[in-house]
Amino acid sequence: MNTIIETKQVRDLRTEEMVVQMGPQHPSTHGVLRLEVTTEGEVVKDVKPIIGYLHRCFEKHCEQMTNYQQVIPYVDRMDYVAAMSMEWSYVLGMERMLGIQVPERVEYIRVIMAELQRIASHIIAIGTYGLDLGAFTPFLYLFRDREMILDIFERTCGARLLYNYFWIGGLSHDIPPEFVDKVREFVKQFKNTIVEVNNLLSYNEIFIKRTANIGILPADVAINYATSGPVLRGSGVNWDLRRDDPYSIYDRFEWEVQVGKGEMGTVGDCWDRYMVRCREMEQSLKIIEQAVEQIPPGDVQSAIPKRIRPNPGDIYVRTEAPRGELGFYIVSDGTNSPYRVKGRSSCFVNLSVLPEISRGYMIADLIAILGSIDIVLGEIDR
């Protein structure tokens, strides 16, 4: 081989940069995202993400509503695979604005729902990441168990994806009698699945070769780009809003924040980001296990206000959604509907770091890097 590369003819071959459009209809862009990739041979010189194909002006919709409660179904449709977590952030902001203290029972149910949702969302992230890199089986195992979560949600509030379950001050329904048993059953089953997935995918030689030392995101760059969630923690930054900007009752449970340690390569590579998600699912199971044993009795709708009219003012509220910091900047002018709602989407910010971490890698690696950021275009485009 060497002799061929060394010949003068090959050395003098004219090379030039080429612009390749990846998307908007491309299976591995996880939605309608276009990447304008400048390549030199197989090497990525620059990437420009072009978004907006799914834009439906969520923020304008919010201003047109006749009351604050009506915003929640629109919030659901931001990150449609983690709708519970989306609702929580908005609802939490409104509760802080109105000074509502929700009942204990509601807090417990919310924590369980949000953690189940985190697992369901990470299942999609990990499953499709395997698909992107050519591993089909883990995806099927994971989606089998995701069905169990969706069934629990369906029994509770009637919907499988877009719930409208968290209301300002409470919940739309109480949990059904069989809820606790179903959750216990899921926890038992899913513990085995995580072991299976680790054997099949996480420590698979081919998978490690594709992800370790690829798309390295150093901690200072991650912070400067304000990335959050598994992307930030994958770079070794010990930061989780459930602990560092406390909300709800997470301080009552025993769990640990997972960070990337560079076990297979360098800290902040694709494998670290992937593995943080895997380990977070275990931690979520831990939280759920503790929470289902402690659900107190009570009425889940007792704190729902009759009329929602916050005092003029603004608030920035954030929660740890599966994909990172989900924030809402809500401005009230004292009327029945919001004056302005800005959704600070975690994927939107996380995606902005893509050009920074994919320069110099191969085109095939670009798929691995994009998958490791785990984007949902519904949330990016809003």
């Binding site: 003012g313 603004d314 924030g327 302005r340 800005k342 485009d381 809003r382």
Partner: protein, 159 residues
């Protein structure tokens, strides 16, 4: 540091920059900064070791009505876990705000979005294009006086 101490820090360094500030009795303690000072204040807040605001949580465009646009910066420090909000206001006729992209890279996309939705012109932004809407869209939708265009490439827009 509590918000009052943070505000005192900014006041000592930039005595003329603050137009209005409220740290007590509000949900988000904030300081309204004169537009021409915003970049210096941001730089100071990131680089001052005791403040260390290395994380720009959110940057939002605003239309306050009465011919006033604004930008809101929600800052956070990973190390100290304190938060603070900065605000600027500009008139609708000359909506020019210095860009903070060189301080926090994350501001790049947020500022593009604010330009897209409010038409705020960020000075020295390296790549000020529309973020979510098509390049040839008319107007800035989140402005309170926005009128939807009738047709876009022959397609009827209002439904």
């Amino acid at each position: 540091m509590n918000p009052l101490e943070i505000l005192e820090k900014i006041k000592t360094k930039f005595p003329e920059a603050i137009l209005e500030a409220k740290v007590e009795g509000v949900l988000e303690p904030f300081a309204k900064i004169k537009t021409e000072f915003i970049k210096d204040v941001c730089q100071f807040m990131r680089d001052e070791p005791e403040l260390n605001f290395d994380y720009l949580m959110c940057l939002s465009g605003m239309d306050y009505g009465k011919g006033l646009l604004g930008v809101v910066y929600n800052l956070n420090s990973i190390k100290f876990k304190h938060k603070f909000t900065l605000k600027v206001e500009v008139s609708l006729d000359s909506p020019n705000v210095p860009s903070v992209e060189s301080i926090w890279k994350t501001a790049n996309w947020h500022e593009r979005e604010a330009y897209d939705m409010f038409g705020i012109n960020f000075i020295d932004h390296p790549d000020l294009r529309r973020m979510l809407l098509p390049e040839d869209w008319d107007g800035h939708p989140l402005r309170k006086d926005y009128q939807v265009q009738e047709f876009y490439h022959g397609m009827k827009v209002p439904y």
